[in-house]
């Protein structure tokens, strides 16, 4: 008696036994001939990232915003600036010798970064519990992944120095030039530092399909580049900062450099057993399936602004396959990614208010 042959569509195999399925697609090409170009389950080559689309200034309540879409991972970032008066900073130490500092470039940079970090002026938070994937449902405290990504973005913001503290200072110039009645005449003449802008950087995942850090970081950088702080004036009578409401006088927040994050995971031939034996593949920009199958991950943050490649951060966890040589090679991959992200940022130029057209475009590519 002949048993009816049992065939399943690809998606069923991917669910039932994901590891052999991915291994199979990597080792054989679709037309079953000997492989020359390994292909992943999603049809990409191992070192092929998903195309990136960036759209800025789509939110009206935020001072800067960006929507980033890489394949099926979509993230929205909104930057919101609020005023932090120096009187409500408990550990505030006024800096009096700005002019003296201006001479020593390195010391100034160090002090500026410390100022940004001590007063905690950048507040990034990632919200994953939006139902963006079946495992992220709301009503629970932030998951480990959300906390990890938030912290990584936080430390990279401070570590890479994309935002300078100069743009965030609010000065009181109302008494400049006025005839001082007090004793300290010289001090009254100078502008006084009265407050800082605090940037609340909130990220919301609309759709999640792996590689949250790259998408989140790209969204943060794009939103910061888009951020315009309103013109601000200190009102001594109200003891508050008052902003001009004219948008054309708003000042863009100076963003230094363009650090780009580039992540990959290592896929091993053997599902269990000693790491390092058998073949392995480096999969760039992993999706949800690949992330679940791979233990070892590497992230490199590079900045090629100004022609010269600088590694801003590097992170490698969970395995022993990636050695010194591979990392060096991976920096080259990251450089390529940097060019793509840069192109995507420049592409976005025609900002129009509605997200609709963007979503539509993204939807039709599915």
């Amino acid at each position: 008696m002949a048993t009816p042959s049992l065939t399943f569509p690809r998606s069923v195999f991917a669910k039932l036994s994901p590891h052999p399925y991915l291994l199979r697609t990597l080792t054989t090409s679709p037309d079953d001939t000997t492989t020359t170009t390994p292909t992943r389950t999603n049809g990409r080559a191992p070192s092929e990232p998903r195309p990136l689309k960036i759209h800025t200034s789509s939110l009206s309540h935020a001072h800067g915003s960006a929507l980033v879409r890489a394949g099926d991972t979509t993230v929205i970032c909104g930057v919101r600036a609020e005023i932090l008066p120096v009187t409500s900073i408990p550990q505030y130490r006024p800096v009096t010798d700005y002019d003296a500092l201006a001479e020593d470039e390195e010391e100034k940079e160090r002090r500026d970064r410390a100022e940004l970090k001590d007063y905690d002026l950048l507040v990034p938070n990632i919200e994953l519990a939006t139902g963006c994937a079946p495992q992220f449902l709301p009503g629970v405290p932030p998951s480990t992944l959300a906390q990890t990504v938030s912290t990584r973005v936080y430390s990279l913001l401070h570590g890479s120095g994309v935002v300078g503290v100069e743009g965030l200072r609010v000065w009181d110039t109302s008494r400049v030039g006025a005839t001082a009645e007090g004793v300290d005449e010289e001090e009254e003449e100078k502008p006084r530092l009265v407050a800082y802008w605090t940037l609340y950087i909130d990220l919301l995942f609309v759709s999640y399909d792996g590689n949250p850090f790259d998408a989140a970081w790209t969204a943060v950088v794009a939103a910061l580049r888009d951020t315009k702080l309103p013109e601000v004036r200190w009102d001594p009578d109200r003891e508050a900062a008052v902003c001009g409401s004219r948008t054309e006088r708003a000042k863009a927040l100076g963003v230094r450099g363009l650090p780009v994050a580039c992540s990959a995971v290592v896929f091993l031939e053997k599902e269990r057993g000693e790491p390092g034996e058998g073949r392995h593949w480096l999969l760039l920009d992993p999706d949800r399936l690949e992330e679940g199958l791979c233990g070892e991950a590497i992230t490199v943050v590079v900045d090629c602004e100004g022609g010269e490649t600088r590694v801003r951060a590097m992170e490698k966890v969970g395995g022993v396959v990636v050695g010194r040589e591979l990392v060096r090679g991976f920096v080259g991959v990251a450089e390529k990614r940097w060019k793509e992200v840069k192109a995507a940022m420049n592409m976005d130029g025609q900002a129009h208010g509605a997200l609709g057209a963007f979503v539509e475009e993204a939807g039709s590519s599915r």
Binding site: H61, G78, L84, V123, C132
Partner: protein, 287 residues
Amino acid sequence: MADRRRINGPPGATAPPIYEDDSNQESSGFKATRTRQPNTIRRMYLKTGVTPSASGSAYLEVEMPGKSGASGLKLSCTVHGPRSLPRSSPFSPHIILSSHVKFAPFATKQRRGYLRDPTERDLGTHLEAALRGAIIADRWPKSGVDIIISVIEGDQDRGTAKNQADDSWEDMNVLSGCITVASAALADAGIDCVDTVAGGVAALVRDGSDNGKTKIVIDPIPSEHDKIEAACCVAYLPSRDEITNLWFKGDLPSKEAGLYQELVEQGILASKQANRVLVECLGETVG
């Protein structure tokens, strides 16, 4: 005690920026007025399948008229399920709905926190009531479905400070959008419903230009009117001629009993118009 699982920022309180010209904007002659007919809703954009990993998803955007660039309500909805209930939960002969509505921190004029506030819980309850009437619940015993809505941008105008104290009128518009987008997402998830349910808002407004007379408009934008006396949000199933949820707020003179009915009628009219968009959108997906 601050939540240690998030990054909380500086310990001192930060204040949202105060804008200089807020108070004298009206006197300078600029004031938004309603240019649409009183019986038409704003144009909206609806799209299903925005989140591929969810069972069903939809995205809704409502146009903000009069201003280029600024746009109104933006909602993203995902539906997960039907899925089996955990073993510990008691037997249920029908599907259990759980709905979450959450504003993004950058959705409104004031920055929202990450914990759900009472308004969001209230919206969630209303939404659940509206959808429960549309879903054929006894087809899925012992199962549950999650409906999650993220309000990416609320229905507020940034420029005007008027009506700042009561943003409760905007909540009605948000709810009506939530109902429409959730209905589209449920259809995308393939959950059986008796009909597509859509939300509609009607309001009794008093404008200074009409010598203080009241009139009824649908899909109101609070900043366009001097005062909103009462408003109601209706969730309506057109093929059954059935209202699944009704939320009425405000005060009506008791001597005009017909006014209340008329308000609900207009709400239904708004809902029917939204439903047309909904059906068209679903038709595109299927076809």
